[in-house]
Homo-oligomer: 180 residues x 2
C-alpha cells in the first residue's frame, strides 16, 4: 500500500491504532485505518463412483499441475455457492455438495482453504477456461507427484483415507500438512 | 475506493478484466486490479460444566448485547488461533478448542463466520477491554432477546440442541437463519 485509497495521500504510517490489538496501515491525512485480512479459498472435490475429478491448471501459480477445483470466495457469495461456482468454472460441472472436509490455513500467505466433497451430477464434466484438462481418477491413478497445492493433497489424502468409514469428518491443519 | 492504493491515481474504473469472471476496481493509470473479498470472523463458544460463556459487547455494532467471543481473522493467523485469541481478548480466558460448530455466511456484508465449541480451562474468565461483562449461562438463563448477532444465536441454538447427542456436528447456513 503506497497511497490511501480513500483520500489519495501518500502519508501512510504503520501503527497500532488506539484500542486495537494489531498494527495497521493508517492514513495520516484522513485517519482512515486500512485493514488487511486473510482470504477464503473455497472449493469442492467432485466424486463420481470410485473416482474423483481433478483439473489441470491453465493459470499460474502451479500451471500444468492438478488441483481440486478451488478459488477465491467472492463478495456477495456464500462459501457453498463459491465451491459450486469453482467446479462450474474449472470443470464445467455441477455438484451436489456433500460435506465440508477441509479447513486448511496457510498463515504465511493469508489464505484459508475450505473444501467440500461433492457428488458429480450424472458424472458429467468438461474443461473450463482456467483448465488445460479435467479427468476422473481412482485413488491409484491420482497423479500424486503433480498435485498443485498441499491443500489439495490434504483434501485428497483425507478423503481416500476416510472413504471406508461411515463418518464424514472435517479435517483441520495448517500448511505444510498433507494429512491430518 | 476513490484512489489507487498502488499509484495514487483517481482514474479508477469498475470493469471485468480479461479472463476474469467478476467486475473489479481497475486502475487505468497503472492497471492494478483491486480485488475485494469476504472476511472471516472466527470465534469460540466456551463451555464450562452445563454453562456457556458469553460476553456483553462494549463496542459497536450491537453495543450492550451478548455475544459468542468472535472477531476478524488477522493476517498471519490460523482460524483456530484466531478463535482462541478472541476468547482471550474478550473474556481473558483460555479455551481448548473442541470442534467447529458453525459456518455461517452473511453474503450481504461479505462475512464468513467460523465458530468453535471449546472447553473453558478451569472455568476461569474475566472481562476484556472490548466487553462490558462476561457471564456463564445455562440454556435457560441465556438472554435470548439480547444476543448480538444471528450468527451467535445460530451457534447457541445448535449447540444446545445437539448437546444430548454424541455426534459433534458442523452446522451451515446463511443469514438470517438462527437454527439449522
Amino acid at each position: 500500500m503506497n497511497f490511501c485509497s480513500n483520500c489519495g495521500s501518500a502519508d501512510l504510517s504503520y501503527q497500532q491504532p488506539a484500542g486495537d490489538t494489531h498494527q495497521r496501515h493508517v492514513c495520516e491525512a484522513c485517519q482512515t485505518i486500512h485493514y488487511r485480512n486473510p482470504k477464503v479459498v473455497t472449493g469442492c472435490l467432485p466424486v463420481w463412483e470410485d473416482k474423483v475429478l481433478l483439473c489441470r491448471r491453465a493459470i499460474e501459480p502451479a500451471y500444468g499441475l492438478w488441483n481440486v477445483p478451488s478459488g477465491y470466495l467472492e463478495n456477495g457469495e456464500s462459501v457453498r455457492a463459491g465451491a459450486k461456482r469453482e467446479v462450474q468454472e474449472e470443470a464445467l460441472a455441477e455438484v451436489r455438495l456433500d460435506y465440508l472436509i477441509t479447513l486448511y490455513d496457510i498463515e504465511r500467505i493469508n489464505q484459508v482453504y475450505l473444501q467440500y466433497v461433492g457428488h458429480l451430477i450424472e458424472g458429467r464434466f468438461g474443461v473450463g477456461e482456467e483448465s488445460l484438462d479435467a479427468q476422473l481418477f481412482t485413488e491409484e491413478n491420482v497423479p500424486w507427484d503433480e498435485i498443485a497445492f498441499t491443500s489439495s493433497e490434504f483434501t485428497l489424502r483425507n478423503y481416500f483415507h476416510d472413504r471406508s468409514i461411515p463418518r464424514k469428518l472435517l479435517h483441520q491443519a495448517s500448511y505444510p500438512a498433507v494429512r491430518s
